[in-house]
């Protein structure tokens, strides 16, 4: 019997090595898999490359991962925020490398990795600093920049509901990068608020089919509130 359920975040992340590239879900705190991130810190893997829309907020989640000096490089679209002090400090000290990518290009590069696309031309950022040194091409009456996929070893995402085949649904705008990150990693680990029996997710409403998911860990909302 296929059973992708794993008992704890720690067990789900037990094989993450130093130097791994990790897609980390979330837009700010919405969809950020906080318990998986905590387990990643506890695991102690170093030299990680983290792909996320942001670069950490406040003291928890990605910010804590940066503060724990686990991260070598961040690929993101919007690092600078009022509460991104851990990133700001590590970046300014030169210990953290930043690759800044326009948000839509970030999403499309992740999706391209998942969908087996070798590279694509996007109009975004043409003529700007963020396209400097990149190949460009005029197609029809528009100019485009060539962009390459972002493949990853792991994706850590947060979903709402999961079954033992790994089918997932999400909750409102916490969906954000989850479905495309799930496609783009060799090993996708989802924390879910609720586990359900096979068939309890409407097959018309599955957002991430289980083929993209290796491990599912239940971290109920109640448990998180209590913590």
């Amino acid at each position: 019997m296929i059973d992708k359920f794993v008992a704890t975040p720690a067990a789900a992340l037990a094989d993450v090595p130093d130097g791994a590239t990790i897609l980390l879900g979330g837009f700010g705190t919405a969809g950020l898999p906080e318990e998986l991130t905590d387990a990643l810190i506890a695991r102690g893997a170093k030299g990680l490359t983290i792909v996320n829309n942001n670069a950490g907020n406040g003291e928890g989640g990605l910010a804590a991962l940066i503060a724990a000096k686990c991260v070598k490089k961040i690929i993101c679209s919007f690092p600078r925020q009022a509460d991104s002090w851990h990133f700001d400090k590590a970046y300014r000290s030169g210990e953290l490398e930043l690759e800044l990518v326009p948000q839509g290009t970030l999403a499309e590069r992740i999706r391209a990795a998942g969908a087996g696309i070798g590279a694509f031309y996007t109009p975004t950022a043409f003529g700007t600093k963020l396209a400097e040194g990149k190949e460009t091409r005029r197609i029809g009456d528009r100019d485009y920049v060539l962009e390459f996929p972002i493949h990853a070893d792991y994706a850590l995402i947060k979903a709402e509901r999961g079954d033992r085949w790994g089918n997932l649904t999400y909750r409102m705008t916490a969906r954000n990068f989850g479905p495309i990150m799930a496609m783009a990693a060799r090993c996708t680990i989802a924390q879910v608020n609720e586990t359900v029996e096979l068939g309890q997710i409407d097959p018309e409403a599955v957002v991430t089919p289980g083929i993209f998911v290796k491990r599912v860990v239940k971290v109920s909302r109640a448990a998180r509130k209590a913590a």
Binding site: A30, R80, R92, P102, G104, E108, K129, A174, P179, I180
Partner: protein, 217 residues
Amino acid sequence: MKKMDRNQMAARVARDIPEGAYVNLGIGLPTLVANHIPAGREVILHSENGVLGIGPRPAKGAEDYDLINAGKEPVTLLAGGAFFHHADSFGMIRGRHLDFCVLGAFQVSVSGDIANWHTGAPDAIPAVGGAMDLAVGAKKVLVMMEHLTKEGTSKIVERCSYPLTGAACVNRIYTDLAVIDVRADGLHVIDMAEGLEFDELQKLTGVPLHYRETAKA
């Protein structure tokens, strides 16, 4: 002369957005536009973090931080709204499905270049978010900004001195002094703050403006 305040500017932008339009409102000043869409006019608001059909702010205490806009503020969803993932959301933007986006800006040039993501200061931490996608993707790019910097120089310029967000993409500029169209033959004043004369506007603005009394909207 009476400068428009932020709400007057937002109301002026809202006036130009017709029923049925799909609109992305940038972080900050543009977000105010939502409050000024006339009651009964259906305009569908998009946020790049994966939602169409954003409604009013939730009541105090009813915030749910799984339902936020691109500025990470809690919002609500109207009946008829939908959620989708980031690649689909930016497919909408880049694929030219949005009728309008409204962006803040540091500078806009006479050719419609916009700079709004980076001051270029050497120690600044850059952050671009979805601005570059919106600049190239929306059918109409509207800019909302103060006319003058704090130092009193024009933010409408011959060439942007800050790093560009997008080239030749702005269609219309809304400032606290005027509404200005960016056209192939230059900048055309469409509307001015109450009591402002064209000569004065021209003097305050760094670049040549066109103005025909009859063009006033």
